[in-house]
């Protein structure tokens, strides 16, 4: 049993100079067989394992991770959480996640530093205004908080924005979702890992999947760098590497993996207390609790697994940032990095069964998977445990690319990737 994190535990451990904290999760060797194995120890994979154990009573399960947990896109995103998506299916999916976020620190007994500081999306031309107003109405019909702000209200909400009509793409207004915000990305992975481990889930790091063993149309197990592990159910949450796993199993996915970049500045005093995103000029920015400006850049348009990106993408984003926030013109950027995002043709995710019995995929989150982490894990766990999708992820099946029933969210993906 795990010790509960609390103020009393903090005081107690202070007396021993914080040298006797219990380790947060074990480091087990893989067993010969599991009831289910999750491939990918990022937020989505760990959340899936957590909910499989918690809600579906599947305790004999493992998460295999080729590197260290939370070292992929979970540790590389810009931590934005929101649910203001256009279509009903996506609005329900992302708001399901947002509702779990609201109680997640308590549920995990781990501070994920969820901060509902509000997310504002800016409009820079007439079409933006029409699209964002339409989105606001659609959100409200789905019970999601959203309001339209005119230019003056945008300026009041975030005073450092340049709302002059003279800039290249003037701010004509924006939408605001107050329930939206940010969370500490690493803490999400660690909190789910600790919670899953406490229920008996084996989290096996440095264990790369090398093959999916099939018996006809059913899964029999996985080949890994730590040997063969037998299982009848494999849930893949491998983000940018989903196609690599799919190719091992002999199936094709409608994905392309591309580098997406982000960067942070040197830390400064609080200056921007919300998340501000702009689709048209491709700039989004927030400030971390450490004081760094967190800036999201765009994707490169070619397939690459290098976790790098091109300089011109960063340059384009920073040009837009400086046009909107001239006050940042002398800021120094501290770090820049890339993550590999798996993009679907309709910019919506896949949480689905496949043509192979016992093989499930949770992928295609593209440029915006972090916000969905708890909901994605919950629904993927339901899909794996029951061998049937939950009503909330029914629309996000692989079959939609055959039936044509796509969930086109290119607009609500907030930035034009």
């Amino acid at each position: 049993m795990k010790n509960k994190y609390s103020i009393f535990a903090l005081i107690k451990n202070a007396f021993s100079y914080h040298e006797n904290w219990q380790r947060a999760w074990r480091d087990p060797e893989p067993k010969k067989e599991y009831d289910a194995i999750i491939v990918g120890g990022g937020g989505h994979g760990l959340a899936t394992a957590f909910y499989l154990a918690k809600k579906h009573d599947m305790k004999n399960i493992a998460v295999v991770e080729k590197g260290w947990i939370g070292g992929g896109n979970t540790g590389r995103n810009t931590t934005i959480i929101r649910s203001n998506y256009l279509w009903d299916a996506s609005a329900r999916l992302y708001d399901h996640a947002l509702k779990i976020w609201e109680g997640l620190s308590q549920e995990l007994n781990y501070n994920v530093m969820f901060s509902q500081r509000g997310v504002m999306n800016l409009a820079h031309n007439l079409q933006d205004v029409r699209d964002l107003k339409r989105r606001t109405h659609a959100n409200r019909l789905n019970g999601i908080d959203a309001i339209w702000l005119n230019t003056k209200e945008v300026k009041e909400f975030c005073p450092i924005i340049n709302t002059s009509p003279d800039i290249r793409y003037p701010v004509l207004g924006g939408t605001l979702q107050r329930r939206a915000g940010t969370a500490r990305h690493d803490a999400v992975a660690w909190g789910y890992a600790r919670g899953a481990d406490a229920m008996g889930v084996d989290i096996i790091q440095n264990c790369e999947v090398k093959g999916i063993k099939r018996n006809g149309d059913s899964v029999e197990g996985i080949e890994t760098t730590k040997g063969f592990i037998k299982t009848k159910k494999v849930g893949v949450a491998a983000a940018g590497h989903s196609s690599v796993i799919a190719n091992m199993a002999g199936i094709r996915l409608p994905l392309e993996s591309k580098p997406l970049q982000a960067l942070v500045s040197e830390p400064i005093k609080p200056i921007i207390d919300a998340v501000v995103m702009s689709n048209a000029v491709h700039a989004y920015i927030s400030q971390s609790d450490k004081g760094e400006l967190v800036i999201g850049a765009g994707t490169d348009d070619y397939v690459s697994y290098t976790q790098k990106g091109t300089h011109n993408i960063v340059e384009g984003t920073l040009k837009a940032i400086l046009e909107l926030y001239p006050i940042f013109s002398r800021m120094k950027m501290l770090r820049q990095w890339g993550g590999i995002v798996d993009i679907c043709p309709d910019a919506s995710p896949i949480i689905s069964k496949t043509s192979i019995k016992g093989l499930f995929f949770n992928c295609g989150w593209g440029t915006g998977g972090f916000k969905a982490t708890p909901g994605s894990g919950d629904l993927f766990a339901h899909t794996i445990a029951n061998d049937e999708p939950h009503k909330l992820n029914k629309a996000f099946n692989l079959n939609r690319f055959i039936s044509g029933d796509l969930v086109d969210e290119h607009g609500a993906a907030a930035v034009a990737h």
């Binding site: 196609s243 094709r252 996915l253 070619y302 697994y305 011109n312 690319f401 055959i402």
Partner: protein, 91 residues
């Protein structure tokens, strides 16, 4: 970031080019006879290889011509560039 040798213009910065995705996907000859599964395969399903991949590229901020390229997506090293009508120089 990498340099691409356009078969028409020579070496240029990658930022002058646009990627057209996987190469050698043949457009169905009889589209009316295609099943939904076959359409999905043609339109959406991609190999998305980590490793050596055959791709189409366009010199969009240059001569605007299309060509093919063999590139390793795990390290962005380009192994070959060849014109649209040519056979891949590498298997």
């Amino acid at each position: 970031m990498f340099i691409i040798k356009c078969p028409f213009c020579g070496e240029r910065d990658q930022s002058e080019f646009s990627s057209g995705g996987e190469a050698h996907i043949i457009r169905p000859k009889k589209p009316t006879e295609l099943s939904d599964v076959e359409w999905a395969k043609y339109l959406f399903m991609r190999k998305n290889i980590k490793g050596v991949q055959f791709e189409r590229w366009n010199h969009s901020h240059g001569c605007r011509k299309w060509f093919n390229m063999v590139r390793d997506t795990s390290n962005d090293i380009i192994h070959a560039v060849y014109k649209m009508s040519e056979k891949p120089p590498i298997k």
